[in-house]
Assembly symmetry: C2
């Protein structure tokens, strides 16, 4: 069941106009916060973005702007540099947090996509959202009710990624 959900999750880039209830948004973020982190430092912070005006301004900061504009909702995920202790491990924890959120989005019948290209403009995003310089943009997740069927992107075979067994 869990394994199927992990395999069947897809990136969704087209959304219906239907809004996403705030209760679901909190469930998604809560799922993110159940990720493990080094020394349980929980180095994540979130900004929920629904304003069409803000989405329009975000959209010009990435080549995937149309996805942001079309999504009823985005969640920006930040690394809280005040909570960090080791950059590699903290960024891994952020990745684990985002994956939990994507799995929760899928489990709730929603769809979402992890947008990273916008990190090239992370400072502009921070200014636009009026966020402290202690927070570093890690990703934007666009989500909503899916309006497309997608197929899995291919994966390397297991014997390509398992180097050896000792």
């Amino acid at each position: 069941m869990m394994l199927d959900s992990i395999k069947n999750r897809r990136s969704i880039r087209r959304f219906k106009a239907q809004e996403v209830d705030g209760k679901l948004v909190k469930e998604i973020i809560e799922a993110g916060t159940w990720a493990p982190s080094g020394l349980n430092n929980q180095p994540w912070k979130f900004v929920i973005i629904r304003s069409p005006a803000i989405k329009d301004q975000l959209a010009v900061l990435t080549r995937y702007g149309k996805i942001i504009q079309q999504a009823p909702l985005c969640i920006a995920v930040f690394l809280d540099t005040a909570a960090t202790y080791d950059r590699t491990k903290d960024i891994q924890a952020i990745g684990a947090c985002i994956q939990n959120m994507l799995l929760a989005i899928h489990a709730l019948g929603l769809g979402g996509v992890w947008l990273g290209e916008i990190l090239k403009n992370s400072e502009k995003v921070r200014h636009l959202l009026g966020i402290s310089s202690a927070l570093e943009l890690m990703a934007v997740i666009a989500l909503g009710y899916p309006d497309e069927q997608t197929v899995a992107s291919p994966r390397k075979k297991l014997d390509e990624v398992i180097v050896k067994e000792v």
Copy 2:
């Protein structure tokens, strides 16, 4: 169901002697490979470690060596630097991959723990395992059948991690 699994997953540090079937190990690694990655570059590689002699040598490289020795199995996760395109995004992808593995471990009735402290000796681990310098150690996951009940480590409240809604 998925959300419960995300919440109920715990770090397990004590294991029964029972071996973990190779088929389950492949399911766990396969779950890892279903994580998303930037440009679908899949920058992960894995080494399966069952040899007691190797585990003993790994154990001296971390203060959590007893967990490694007691676990019937460890999986070392590496970043394939030949496949990288952006260090932050690649490390996030590794984190997503590890989280999928931990969720799969939990879903299969096994338990595991994400060990990061050993990264202080990542080069020694690489030499011990006889791994190419193109691979960079990202974590060791110790796993097996759980021999303990654990409680959740506390989480910050949602209103502490949601900075704002715009």
